[in-house]
């Protein structure tokens, strides 16, 4: 019994993914919900400090280790996997269920990995399994985006692998430890590899490219797992790296600017993942106990409200078949429950008091102030303005309360509402009772979110952001445009590479094939009747007719005999 209870959560999910290859319908749906819940129950009972060591081909590995930080990440990953399973209860697509579960396996494997080897294996599993959730939409643009997604993640994984090998060569150990900027190029390679999954600009373009093209249910898992497992790895390897403070602030603002421009509702939300992860990255960079607590707490809160937002947007897309903000409108009356559940997520991400975004975002913002980064603090507050602007004002005002273009709304399965209801409840629960979340945090630092100062700060910012929005709201209406991002370099770059490297090679091959044909043709023409060269042909020049041209057999034998006699004589004489 104890051996079973001590099995790492990733093993349970891997088993579930394997079983899902054979089960169907309700049993599959039940497995996707119950196995993560069971693994969560076991995880909650495990003692901190528990670990599993293993020696493989002379390498000391630690495929599982439970600490105060990864425990929180493990809990929320399992929780959201189960809720994602409820949201996707109606989906009758075996491989999507298998891959979503395998994806969660990868995220948990990364979260509990104690060594780089284990980390890398699960890292790649995440990339492959999550790409399937994009492919599974089966639209031409999804398939292309899925391939781009896969390519970027393979490139990131390769950079990570390169860094890990280099690091192993230098230190002789594969165990995860805190790295410092002066440790040489190896650690910087590892940082770049991890930052691909963190979606740190300019390495982020895979995220807003692929997430809007994933399946409605797959996007829930994607919004929760990839970036946050990478944030965990940042916390373990790179705490206190000052560059991350500034990169984090840039991330928060970068996501905000793009979200103002984006038109696809899930792309707007995707850019706000980048923005929100920026807070976490800044928290890692500040590196104080308070800021790192803030990063863990914000990852936890973010997964909940972002899943709720993606569920709401997914509900809109599933019900109307429309994902462009410019084509949506008037849904507040047609999809009332989904709209209000979405609004809870939107108010939460915006940092409204009494919701879970407020209690976690404010830790990071306060920690920046405490650690004497006033400009960083104002940068993070500026980003929170943009968050409110796009997720809680732009999308709702146009899609929910905007002019109705006469959309017909299909009814949604009750399980989708159930999943959204559970997450909305959790967003409110943690907002009202922050102690539930703070009690799990790794460092023992008390923090009070509901101080007069924070309330004044939040309420004034939110109120006047709303007024600013109301004055300029016409400017934010969706329009049928796409926005260029750093994926331009490989999407347009691909055609340039094609023009410069692939096309010339193709031309070379075509020309040489043509020349080869000409040479063969002229050779075959020249050699088809050699008698013609000496005008000895008795038949036509264009063909060798054996019956006409062949000399008498006797003549040839005489020639051969003569040659033989000649050689023999020469041999005798010499």
């Amino acid at each position: 019994m104890s051996a079973i209870a001590e099995m790492p959560p990733a093993i349970w999910l891997l088993g579930a993914a394997f079983l899902l290859c054979f089960t169907r319908n309700r049993i599959s749906s039940a497995l996707t919900v119950l196995v993560p819940l069971g693994a969560l129950a076991l995880l909650l009972q495990m003692d901190q400090g528990e670990s599993l060591t293993l020696s493989l081909a002379g390498l000391e590995l630690q495929p599982f280790q439970l600490g105060p930080v990864n425990r929180v990440f493990g809990i929320i990953f399992l929780l959201i996997s189960a809720i994602g399973g409820i949201y996707a209860w109606h989906v009758n697509d075996r491989w999507q269920q298998v891959m979503a579960t395998a994806y969660a396996t990868g995220a948990l494997g990364v979260t509990f990995a104690g060594d780089f080897f284990t980390l890398l294996v699960f890292w790649e599993l995440m990339a492959v399994a999550s790409a399937w959730l994009v492919f599974a939409r089966r639209q031409p643009d999804s398939i292309r985006a899925g391939f781009r997604y896969l390519m970027v993640h393979f490139a990131g994984g390769s950079i990570l692998l390169g860094g890990i090998l280099w690091h192993y060569h230098e230190t002789g150990s594969l165990l995860l430890t805190t790295l410092s900027p002066g440790d040489g190029p190896a650690v910087w390679l590892i940082l770049v590899g991890v930052c691909v999954n963190v979606a740190l600009p300019p390495l982020h373009a895979w995220l807003p490219d692929a997430y809007p093209k994933a399946t409605v249910t797959g996007a829930i898992f994607m919004s929760a797992l990839t970036t946050k497992s990478a944030v965990y790895v940042l916390l373990v390897l790179f705490p206190g790296w000052e560059i991350l403070v500034y990169m984090g602030v840039i991330m928060t603002l970068y996501g905000v600017v793009y979200a103002v421009l984006a038109n696809d509702i899930r792309q707007i939300l995707a850019y706000h993942i980048i923005s929100q992860v920026g807070y976490m990255v800044a928290g890692v960079g500040i590196g104080t106990e308070l800021s790192m607590n803030g990063t863990v707490a914000h990852a936890y809160s973010h997964i909940l409200y972002k899943a709720l937002l993606f569920m709401g947007a997914g509900a809109v897309i599933q019900a109307t078949g429309v994902s462009r903000l410019s084509d949506l409108g008037g849904l507040a009356r047609k999809m009332r429950p989904a709209v209000w559940l979405y609004m809870i997520g939107a108010f939460s991400i915006s940092g409204f008091p009494l919701l879970n975004g407020f209690i976690s975002k404010s830790i990071i913002v306060s920690s920046a102030g405490e650690a004497h980064y006033p400009v960083v603090m104002l940068g993070l507050l500026l980003a929170s303005i943009g968050t409110f602007l796009s997720t809680a004002l732009k999308i709702p005002v146009f899609a929910f309360w905007g002019k109705d273009p006469g959309l017909s709304v299909r009814p949604l399965p009750a399980t989708m509402y159930l999943a959204m209801g559970i997450v909305a409840f959790l967003c409110i629960l943690y907002g009202v009772a922050p102690g539930l979340l703070y009690g799990m945090l790794p460092y023992d630092r008390t923090y009070h979110p509901y101080t007069a100062y924070h309330l004044v700060e939040s309420i004034q910012i939110l109120t006047f952001t709303f007024i600013g929005f109301w004055v300029l709201r016409e400017k934010l209406a969706g329009a049928r445009y796409i926005i260029l991002d750093t994926d331009w370099f490989y999407r347009r770059g691909a055609s340039l590479v094609d023009a410069w490297f692939v096309h010339p090679v193709n031309v070379l091959f075509t020309v040489s094939a043509f020349l080869r044909g000409k040479v063969v043709e002229s050779a075959s023409r020249t050699f088809r009747n050699p008698y013609h060269w000496f005008k000895m042909n008795t038949g036509p020049a264009w063909a060798f007719l054996p019956d006409r041209e062949r000399p008498y057999l006797g003549g040839i034998i005489v020639w051969i005999l003569m040659a033989f006699v000649l050689f023999a004589t020469a041999a005798f004489l010499v």
Partner: protein, 73 residues
Amino acid sequence: MRTYHWILLILLTLGTLLLSYFGPGPSHPHPWDRIPLFYAAFGFFGCILTIFVSKGLGKAVLQKKEDYYERHR
């Protein structure tokens, strides 16, 4: 937006103003804390700045027609 919505927003702002004067101060004060309604101004101008900077960037370089990548394949 009806009139009573605006009145509610004004009351809310007045409430925060009272709270910032008579409530407990911040545990870690910042230079801008002495400016009354600092965060209100920050929110308003931050919002306008965000919209104009984003839209400006969009108009200048970032926004393209939806078939941009198809046309350039």
